[in-house]
Each structure stands twice: as structure tokens, then as C-alpha cells.
């Protein structure tokens, strides 16, 4: 049975057009000048129990708005949305019992109290019995060693510790579906790894459905079998991660700082690379930020080491960084028809 069903889901916001400066602000007080923003514009998909779905897209794509409709916070402007057969908005309190939510940038824990007190409050509002509560905390303690944090005030926790506690809290009532909205934002590599293995373990042992929104393609690679890419409120891709993996898995971006950079450098770089590796080399050159030139390389076609060696010996390079392809680049490639 389908757990989550979305059909032509839409959410439109009316936003006041604000004007610049003090004069503009005063004018805004009496302004009726609204524009409609289609944050979510006709989205359809179905999610089965036990799936881990990566819901990704660039900033402002409509990810969080969709999550907020699935969790019953926002009322859709149009379309159908059903979680476990019911509309989340119209049955909010009832539906909340089967959901867990983590918002990476906020916490559900009581800021001034020791962590364990928040867990106790959640235990009461979700009517979790004592044995299940103890088992649950015991299991988390085993997985990530939380016990030492229980008596600490939430505001004294590090971001990573707090996130582990927040995730623990959202699984406390053994929900059918957990929404993780940017759970690894601002965290370092080791705590990210911890969080990923925690999520995988919970999905494996309890068959909890997980909807994950993230900016970190590493999260998606590590956790998801299915991926939904959305931009400007519309779905760009919905399917197996393997296909998308080929897009960003094989790509790397060389970030170069070239001495005496001028507009001509970019063109020269492009020309020399084409000269050396041929027309179908799968290399794109762009300047994305000041002083840095991005050379994106499809490793399936041209080895990164060759390109790096060629550039180093032909251009006065001051600094080099190698980065994985960004979310924005994946989306750009999808737009360009890379998945067709």
C-alpha cells in the first residue's frame, strides 16, 4: 500500500512586493502590490513504506514547502496529498502521531532543559510506554553513544550532538515516516557519517520510511535508492539513484586560481583544452566566483589527472582545489537533458 500519495500538488504564496529604502518601506505599508509565487507547482509522486527517498533541489526549489504540506503545516493551494490515506492538513493532530520531523535549522528540544527532559515530554505527548521508551533510548545509546549527553542542557550541545538528539527524538514514537529536512547542514564529516549510519540502521530495523531533503550529495549517495529532483516547484527527475549517480559520481570540478587572470584566460583555457583532448572531452570551463576558475571534468571521458597535469604545465596556476559536483550543477545538467 502506498504510504504517501501526491497528485498535482501545488502551493502558491501571495507575496508583497517590497520596495527599497525607507521611502519604499513606508509605501509598502499601504501597498496592495502582491505577486504570486508558485513555490510548488504541480507535483505528483507515490512513496511506498520502507523507502528512503532523497528529495533534492537547489535553494528555493520548493523542497521545504512540499515537506510542510506532507507534515500538515501548510494547506495546499491545489492538488491531492495523502499520507496513509488521509489529508495531513485536515487531520493534523491525528496524522502527527505517525510522523517524525527533523528540521536541520531548528530544534524540537527544549533549549533550557537537559536533553532527557525533552525526551520525557515527547514520551508523554506521543503516549509512548515506559518499556518502549527505555528500549529506544538504549538502542540509540548503543548506536551513537548518547547517554553522556542526556543530562546536558540543550543549549550547551554542539550542533552535531544536538542533531543526533533531534533525530533520536523524532524516532521516539516509532513513526511510520520521518522527514529529515537538511539533517547534516553545517556538520563535519565524522558526525555526518554517524548520522548517515544511524538513519540507515533505523530504516533497516524498523522499516521506517524516510524522506530526506539535503544539499549534500554525499547524503544522497550514502542513503537513498530513489531520488526526486525538483526545481522551481516542478519535478525534474524521479527515479533510481544510479542514473543520477553517473551524473555527479563521475564528475569532479577543478577549482583553479590562475595568476594574472583576465577575460582572455578563460577563452584560452577552453581552446587549449579542446586542442589537447579533442572536441568530445566532456570538460566545461566557467568562472563562478572571483579569482576562481572552475573546470568541470567528466572522468568517464577524460582522466582528471591528465587535465590537471596539462593545465599545471601550461598555465601559471597559484592554487588548486578539487571538489565534487554541486547540487546546482547537477540540476543544470538535468535541465540540459543529461537524463534523457
Amino acid at each position: 500500500m502506498t504510504l504517501i500519495h501526491l497528485k498535482d500538488l501545488a502551493k502558491h504564496f501571495k507575496i508583497l512586493n517590497r520596495h527599497e529604502g525607507l521611502k519604499g518601506a513606508v509605501r509598502d505599508l499601504f501597498s496592495g502590490d502582491y505577486r504570486t509565487v508558485k513555490a510548488v507547482d504541480g507535483i505528483s509522486f507515490d512513496i511506498e513504506p520502507g523507502e528512503i527517498v532523497g528529495y533534492i533541489g537547489p535553494n528555493g526549489a520548493g523542497k521545504s514547502t512540499t515537506i510542510k504540506m506532507m507534515t500538515g503545516i501548510l494547506k495546499p493551494s491545489g492538488g491531492v496529498i495523502q499520507v496513509n490515506g488521509l489529508s495531513p492538513y485536515d487531520n493534523r493532530i491525528h496524522q502527527a502521531m505517525i510522523m517524525g520531523v527533523v528540521f536541520g535549522q531548528r530544534t524540537q528540544l527544549w533549549w533550557d532543559l537537559p536533553v532527557i527532559e525533552s525526551f520525557k515530554i515527547l514520551k508523554e505527548i506521543y503516549k509512548v510506554d515506559q518499556r518502549m521508551f527505555d528500549d529506544h533510548l538504549g538502542m540509540f545509546n548503543e548506536l551513537v553513544g548518547l547517554k553522556a549527553l542526556f543530562t546536558q542542557q540543550v543549549r550547551t550541545l554542539s550542533l552535531g550532538q544536538r542533531m543526533l538528539c533531534d533525530i533520536t527524538a523524532s524516532f521516539l514514537h516509532n513513526p511510520q515516516v520521518v522527514f529529515l529536512d537538511e539533517p547534516t547542514i553545517g556538520l563535519d564529516i565524522s558526525i555526518k557519517a554517524k548520522i548517515r549510519s544511524l538513519i540507515l540502521e533505523l530504516n533497516r530495523t524498523r522499516n521506517t520510511t524516510i524522506i530526506l531533503t539535503t544539499h549534500d550529495l554525499g547524503d544522497v549517495e550514502a542513503l537513498c535508492r530513489r531520488i526526486i529532483i525538483i526545481d522551481k516547484g516542478k519535478i525534474l527527475y524521479d527515479g533510481d539513484i544510479k542514473k543520477v549517480n553517473a551524473l555527479f559520481g563521475a564528475y569532479r570540478t577543478l577549482k583553479l586560481q590562475i595568476k594574472d587572470y583576465s577575460d582572455a584566460t578563460l577563452a584560452a583555457l577552453q581552446e587549449r583544452l579542446t586542442g589537447r583532448f579533442g572536441a568530445a572531452h566532456g570538460i566545461t570551463v566557467a568562472q563562478t566566483e572571483e579569482y576562481w576558475t572552475d573546470v568541470t571534468i567528466d572522468q568517464a571521458r577524460t582522466p582528471l589527472a591528465d587535465v590537471l597535469g596539462f593545465i599545471m604545465s601550461n598555465f601559471p596556476v597559484a592554487d588548486v582545489r578539487i571538489v565534487e559536483i554541486s547540487m546546482e550543477n547537477v540540476v543544470r545538467k538535468v535541465y540540459d537533458g543529461a537524463l534523457q
Binding site: K63, S64, W110, D112, E117, I121, E124
Partner: protein, 263 residues
């Protein structure tokens, strides 16, 4: 219900975390009562009774009024406005709880802490340091119930003002206006007997008097007939019900304009 009781407990624990703040609240209230003492002393110089109240009754009214003011000033509206503005409200909306009841019970929790740490010490001080004379009567039995209903009405006002943040983002002006209305029109600063008769008539038909004037009169003039107190309670309850439903209706409207930041 178990869940909401947990909110009371949680809020009490938070209240205790900030225990040092209580000392300053008590200190400030004492200064206010000393000033009120001398002010009313001079108002009463040469007369035993003004507008039907003796000096002792007026002082008890004003001192207890300011103590009650601290108890009822829970900053719920400010807390809500902050949550609505920065989007934290979405956390509560993903929980199986009613937002109004959640706020009510946390407010009860905060107030319970301040009842023990601020109100009780102040009342003891009124009795044993300022030696305010009180006459006992059946009104004292009604006072706790009346205080609780007053608390509910006060909360409903706060809640409604907090909800305005859905529309206005900042509630500074609205909250200040509410404070002024309540402190003047409810008889929190001045017993309503001191207003002109015509204005008194109007005030008795407004909900504000049910917050301060009603419970305070139960202790200022406790030796009236039971029927009088029951009637006072009935009016209070009516206002509690009316303000509850109005604020709930407001929520149902306001929640529709919710727009949480973050894509």
C-alpha cells in the same frame, strides 16, 4: 492530557533555571508597594473612607493587584510572536498537540513557578512586614477559583495578540496597547470605584474587569453574601468562554496565512 501536563512540568523546570531573575522581580514589586503605600496614605489623609473603600482595603487592593500583575504577565504573546516570526511554530505544528492548549499549559507552568517564587513571598511580606489589615470572609474561598479564571481570560488576550504576528510580524505596538488597556480598564492600577460613575458602568460591561477587579474585590470586600460572589464568578466564566472561542476563531483564520521561511 498527559502530554499537556508534561508541558506544565517542563515550563516549571525552565522557570527554575532562571531563578536569579525572581529576586529582582520581588525587589521591584516591593519598591512599587512602598511607593503605593505613601501615595495612598496621602490620598486618604483626613478621610476614613473614599468611594466606599477604607485605606486598608485600597492598599490591599493595589498591593495585591501589582502582585497579580506579575503573575499574569507571562509574555506568552511575545514568545508566540517570536515563534511565528522565525518559523519555530512549524515544530509544534508537526506534533500531535493543539497550539492553543500547548501555549496555555506552558504558560500555567511558568506562572506556577512565579506563584511560588514571587507571589507567595510578596503576600507574606504584605501580611507580616507591611502589616496590611485584612478582614476575613467567605470571599477568600472564591478567590483562588476567580484567580484561575482571571488567568484564563488574561491568557486568551495574550494568545490573540500573539496570533497577530501571523499578520503583522511584529506585535510590539499591539502588545503595548493591550497592556495599557488591561492595566487601566481592568482596575489593576486603580480600583474601579475611583472612576466616574458613567465610566464604571461601561467598564463593568467589558471583559477587562473580570481579570483584576473581580478577584481583587473578593479579597478587599470578602464579607458579602455568597450569592454576590457566585454572580461575580458567573460573569467571569462567561468572559472566559467568550474570549476562548474568539481567540480560537482567530487562530483558525490566522493559521491560513502562515508562511514559514525556508523554500
Amino acid at each position: 492530557m498527559r502530554g499537556y501536563i508534561a508541558f506544565i512540568r517542563g515550563a516549571m523546570l525552565v522557570g527554575v533555571v532562571y531563578r536569579l531573575g525572581f529576586l529582582f522581580t520581588i525587589l521591584g514589586n516591593i519598591v512599587y508597594i512602598i511607593i503605593a503605600y505613601f501615595l495612598w496614605r496621602s490620598i486618604y489623609s483626613g478621610s476614613d473612607s473614599i468611594n466606599g473603600l477604607t485605606f486598608d482595603q485600597a492598599l490591599l487592593y493595589v498591593a495585591l493587584g501589582s502582585t497579580m500583575f506579575i503573575l499574569l504577565k507571562t509574555y506568552t504573546d511575545w514568545g508566540m510572536a517570536g515563534e511565528i516570526r522565525d518559523g519555530t511554530i512549524s515544530i509544534y505544528l508537526t506534533k500531535p498537540i493543539d497550539y492553543q492548549l500547548y501555549n496555555f499549559f506552558t504558560t500555567i507552568g511558568f506562572a506556577s513557578t512565579s506563584l511560588v517564587t514571587v507571589t507567595l513571598p510578596t503576600v507574606l511580606m504584605l501580611l507580616f512586614v507591611f502589616r496590611i489589615h485584612i478582614a476575613f470572609g467567605v470571599g477568600y474561598l472564591f478567590f483562588p477559583v476567580s484567580l484561575l479564571i482571571a488567568f484564563i481570560i488574561g491568557f486568551n488576550f495574550d494568545y490573540a495578540v500573539g496570533l497577530m504576528a501571523f499578520y503583522t510580524e511584529s506585535i510590539w505596538g499591539i502588545s503595548i496597547t493591550k497592556e495599557i488597556f488591561i492595566s487601566v480598564l481592568s482596575g489593576a492600577l486603580l480600583p474601579l470605584q475611583f472612576f466616574p460613575a458613567a465610566i464604571q458602568q461601561i467598564l463593568m460591561w467589558l471583559p477587562f474587569q473580570a481579570i483584576y477587579y473581580t478577584p481583587l474585590m473578593m479579597v478587599t470586600k470578602p464579607d458579602q453574601e455568597v450569592g454576590v460572589f457566585l454572580q461575580m464568578l458567573a460573569v467571569q466564566i462567561a468572559w472566559a468562554v467568550v474570549t476562548y472561542f474568539l481567540s480560537r476563531m482567530l487562530y483558525n483564520q490566522a493559521i491560513k496565512v502562515l508562511r514559514v521561511a525556508g523554500g
